[in-house]
């Protein structure tokens, strides 16, 4: 696998994104590419526009200018629920699980687009619908094993501790079997041990499942070990792009992060 | 999937619209099940067969009862009267005093020897003027095999009519809608049905038009009636094909029907629309607060002198006088019973005394109390007549029904109100016209007989 080879066409291409809220600009002329098979990190200080960028990819926000191309589709014109069908899954900074469901059902819910039983078949739960449910259960159980959450399979997620919820949410995104996985601060608010676990899962996903990942992270240090390429945003503007080692040496990045440190 | 849902929706909507726009069905295909047997009220002549379990039941009333007939209650024996009415809901004004009247009526019966010695008990259920609750209440009562029920709401009576006939439970109802009372079944209206009352009013109006017509107003050469009434089964019961035809025959024009919701704070729109339509008479088929609102609003619009305003018997109540006050002056109505003011009447005297003895509030000095008290006494008479005929052992709803249709005129509480039924009639037909004068009901006529305007 040659994730960084420039010759392969990008999996996702964001071009000149402009996003405003009233007078506030969240993204200014941001462009980046995600290449097939890579782990790209999108980093930047608070308020840099990282999550806004993800929200554009998801169709939550519609950028006023610019395009996002994914598999020949312009995502800026695709409804949110269609984007997942194209093969993009994501997790959320503040965890957006279905709190009333069990962990298992959260994952099963993600199989939604891959199931095709009708409303009536669901209601009767007979024959094909039943077989389909069982087949998808098998897929989901594999992910549960992979993430080591067997013990909480039937627990309602609302009551789970933070770290486990993050893991269930990752599992839910995986259950979509996406081509591109967007992770919004997957390690935020975790202790060191949990962070290490999560990093291990992310690398495993990348290797064993051959998935392309776009990682949004606030904490620069952590990202450097995982990501293959890094894009840096500051106040909605892209200030740098390159390999982790290039980024570490980039003066603009250092300034942005130091500047933030001074504010603190 | 979404598209499929949308397509199905559109198709079904289209079908619905088409059916709604389709011409009214020809009358021929309408009765697919022409009155299935169980819903058909048993004919009076066949009814004794249903009471067959009692071999003592004499085939003809003239036959001397066999000695086995027990007409005296055993010690401790009781008879329960049932009361299925709306204590709350839009009719509460008239029905709350009914409960008290019912209560005190039963007390009075027990004081005066019960029913052939049996203690009288009372069971009530509130329907809140909701038919679903009435049905639940009825289910409760039905299992106890009531001899006779008392009911109020038109809607409830109509809803239960078929089942009353199936279960052979006669009911005295104050919800005297034409649809509930006819075709004849087990429902007996306690006052003339609303359409007949309206007919009686038209009779009187035509005879006395020159004397009673409004001082000013429009088209005073003949009466032009607008119905200003509630948007409910009860409120709308007056305007039928029969009453329209009858009015036309009598040279009275019905110029419109204006509807309002019970409790609406303003009916000026309806009154002005009626005026626009050329009306000089307003008739309302509502309870006390209906006419009160109409009367007050005509006064406060300054058009009171332009209308003769009248209503059915339930409009003539204490709370109407209370709500409308001076505005009630000159209001006409159809009055089938005596009133609290008739102090010389022996029945009213007793009721007055009982009312005082039970420490009732002045607010309950209403038509409901007076009538409920009388109906309890009427029930007693019917049951006693039945006991005389078939004995305590033969006492069933069907047997009481037999008595009711065979009795003819029956003076309840010595004539506070008179009931009168036979095998075809399900309501009495006698009433007087009253007018509110100085806050009192004043009889303007002697007893009149209402025309028969029951639905064909």
């Amino acid at each position: 696998m040659t994730p960084n080879s420039v010759s392969t066409p990008p999996l996702l291409q964001a071009e000149n994104l402009h996003l405003f809220f009233g007078g506030l600009s969240a993204l200014v002329n941001v462009s980046f590419q995600v290449r097939p098979g890579e782990i790209l990190a999108l980093i930047g200080p608070n308020g840099a526009g990282k999550t806004s960028a993800l929200n554009c990819l998801n169709g939550f926000y519609r950028p006023q200018k610019g395009h996002i191309l994914f598999a020949n589709h312009d995502l800026t014109r695709t409804p949110t629920h269609q984007i997942s069908r194209l093969g993009i899954a994501r997790t959320f900074q503040n965890i957006a699980l279905y709190t009333g469901m069990t962990a298992l059902d959260n994952l099963m819910a993600a199989r939604h687009i891959r199931m095709n039983q009708s409303m009536f078949a669901s209601a009767l739960y007979f024959g094909a619908a039943q077989r389909e449910e069982i087949a998808h259960r098998r897929v989901v159980e594999e992910i549960i094993d992979f993430l080591e959450i067997e013990h909480i399979r039937k627990a309602t997620v609302g009551a789970l501790p933070y770290g486990l919820r993050k893991r269930v949410e990752l599992g839910r995104a995986l259950a979509l079997e996406p081509r591109l996985l967007l992770l919004d601060e997957p390690m935020a608010g975790m202790n060191v041990e949990e962070k290490e676990d999560m990093a291990r899962f992310i690398l495993d996903i990348h290797e064993r499942r051959q998935m392309t990942l776009l990682l949004v992270e606030h904490d620069m240090g952590l990202v450097m070990d995982i990501a293959q390429r890094v894009v840096v945003l500051d106040f909605g503007v892209k200030i740098a792009e390159g390999t982790p080692s290039e980024i570490k040496a980039n003066p603009a990045v250092i300034k942005a992060y130091l500047g933030e440190a001074e504010h603190k | 999937m979404n598209k499929i849902v949308l397509t199905i929706t559109l198709v079904v909507m289209a079908v619905l619209v088409l059916t709604a726009c389709a011409p009214a069905p020809a009358p021929t295909p309408v009765p697919p099940t022409p009155a299935p047997k169980p819903t058909e009220p048993p004919k009076p002549t066949t009814a004794p067969a249903t009471t067959a379990p009692q071999p003592t039941a004499a085939p003809k009333p003239t036959d001397v009862p066999k000695p086995a007939l027990r007409t005296k209650a055993n010690p401790g024996e009781t008879i329960t009267l049932y009361h299925l009415g709306d204590v709350t809901g839009p009719l509460a004004a008239i029905t709350t005093p009914l409960v008290s009247g019912f209560d005190d009526g039963v007390k009075y019966l027990n004081k005066t020897g019960g029913i052939r010695g049996a203690q009288v008990l009372l069971e009530m259920s509130d329907t809140a003027s909701q038919v679903d609750r009435a049905i639940l209440g009825y289910n409760r009562f039905r299992e106890k095999k009531p001899l006779v029920l008392q009911m109020y709401g038109s809607g409830e009576t109509e809803a239960l009519k078929a089942r009353l006939a199936e279960d052979k439970i006669p009911v005295l109802t104050a919800g005297v809608s034409s649809k509930g009372s006819y075709p004849p079944g087990y429902v007996f209206a306690v006052v003339p049905i609303y359409t007949d009352q309206f007919g009686l009013f038209i009779d009187w109006l035509v005879l006395n038009w020159d004397k009673v017509k409004p001082a000013k107003g429009q088209g005073l050469d003949s009466p032009k009636i607008a119905l200003v009434t509630w948007d409910s089964a009860f409120g709308r019961d007056v305007l039928t094909a029969e009453t329209r035809a009858y009015a036309e025959r009598k040279g009275v024009k019905i110029v419109g029907q204006e509807l309002f919701t019970p409790g609406a704070p303003d009916v000026t729109t309806q009154i002005l629309a009626a005026k626009k339509a050329g009306a000089n008479v307003i008739y309302t088929n509502t309870l006390a607060h209906g006419p009160a609102q109409i009367l007050k609003d005509t006064v406060s619009l300054g058009v009171r002198e332009e209308f003769l305003i009248a209503g059915c018997n339930w409009t003539l109540d204490l709370s109407m006088l209370g709500l409308a006050r001076e505005a009630a002056e000159g209001f006409y109505g159809v009055f089938p019973n005596h009133w609290w003011d008739d102090a010389d009447h022996p029945g009213v005297k007793i009721i007055q005394a009982e009312f005082a003895a039970n420490n009732r509030k002045p607010a309950e000095r209403a038509v409901g109390y007076l009538l409920a008290f009388s109906f309890v006494e009427a029930m007693k008479q019917y049951i006693e007549k039945t006991i005389d005929r078939v004995g305590f052992e033969g006492l069933t709803g069907a047997a009481v029904y037999e008595t009711i249709v065979a009795t003819g005129e029956l003076k309840a509480m010595q004539g506070v109100t008179a009931l009168d039924y036979n095998k075809d009639r399900r309501a009495p037909s006698k009433a007087r016209i009253v007018q509110v004068q100085k806050g009192k009901f004043v009889y303007l006529t002697d007893w009149m007989t209402a025309p028969d305007l029951k639905p064909k």
Partner: protein, 298 residues
């Protein structure tokens, strides 16, 4: 169509709309402060009328004195309702509060029947029954004065919000609960105050209405007409409550009065006009005329 009566129905509708506005004001006050839509407003209104009646009938008080006393009780009742029923639900989903106010309406219904009976009563007239004749237009004096009182009430509330400490505190709390808390305002106390004021508004409405129609259980139903008014005006807007109430009143009167064809009149169109209107508003302008558009944070 009765076009010649158009000015008449317009005027009648305007006056009736004044009452709707005042009910809508109560709803808006509570919603603005605590994000609770009070389905029991109509029952508070009914209770207020019954209490006023009780003072005049059983204690023989003058109707205006009874009115004042009922307003005093309404403050306690509103505060109590918030304290007992709504306070435990702070932080619960909107459904819980909706259901609670529906439950409350049933409790108030039961309490009213138990305490006063279901009879219809009448209050001594606050205003004489007399017409006001303006050219071809005939209006009810009592309704016109009720309208004037209602509008006066509005002015008082606007002044209250602009110029009193409590009013300013309520406005601050309505904008942002956390912010209000951080500057030392007691948010629960403000909720209680909003309920107390809404309860007073309800009582005023109840007495004005009872003066026109009578003291009875059906008084509570009038609040159903204020719902479309509130949605049209915007759930959080006090001027919206006025505009919404007047619009619904006028709409109802015109739709109810103008058609002349008996078949059309028999449909009683005025009865549903406000709700069809509400559906249209919900579809085309869900936030109402003066409502706030909210951006959802993800």
């Amino acid at each position: 169509m009765n076009w010649d009566l158009f000015p008449q129905f317009l005027a009648t509708g305007l006056l009736t709309g004044g009452i709707y506005s005042l009910i809508a004001l109560g709803l808006v006050l509570i919603y603005k402060a605590s994000r609770v839509f009070n389905f029991a407003q109509g029952h508070l209104l009914m209770l207020g009328a019954f209490i006023t009646w009780w003072f005049t009938e059983n204690l023989g008080w003058d109707v205006w004195l009874a009115f004042a006393a009922a307003i005093g009780l309404a403050i306690i009742a509103g505060w109590l309702v918030e304290r007992v029923a709504l306070r435990p639900l702070i932080g619960q989903p909107i459904l819980a509060t909706v259901m609670m106010t529906l439950a409350l309406s049933q409790v108030l219904q039961g309490v009213t029947i138990l305490a006063f009976g279901a009879y219809q009563r009448s209050l001594p007239y606050l205003f004489p029954i007399q017409p006001i004749v303006l050219g071809d237009i005939r209006l009810k004096l009592n309704l016109a004065l009720a309208f004037v009182l209602a509008m006066l009430g509005f002015i008082i509330f606007v002044l209250f919000f602009r110029f009193t400490r409590a009013g300013l505190a309520m406005r601050a709390a309505a904008e942002d609960h956390q912010l209000a808390q951080s500057v030392g305002l007691s948010v629960p106390r403000i909720f209680g105050m909003a309920w107390a004021i809404a309860s007073v508004v309800a009582t005023v409405c109840g007495v004005l209405l009872a003066n026109i129609s009578g003291v009875e259980l059906t008084l509570s139903l009038i609040a159903l007409k204020a719902f479309p008014a509130v949605l049209f005006g915007g759930l959080e807007s006090i001027p919206g409550a006025i505009v919404g109430g007047l619009t619904v009143g006028i709409l109802e009167s015109l739709v109810g009065g103008l058609p002349q064809d008996p078949a059309l009149r028999a449909l009683h169109l005025g009865d549903i006009a406000p709700y069809v209107f509400m559906l249209i508003v919900l579809w085309f302008r869900p936030d109402g005329l003066f409502g706030l558009k909210r951006i959802e944070r993800i």
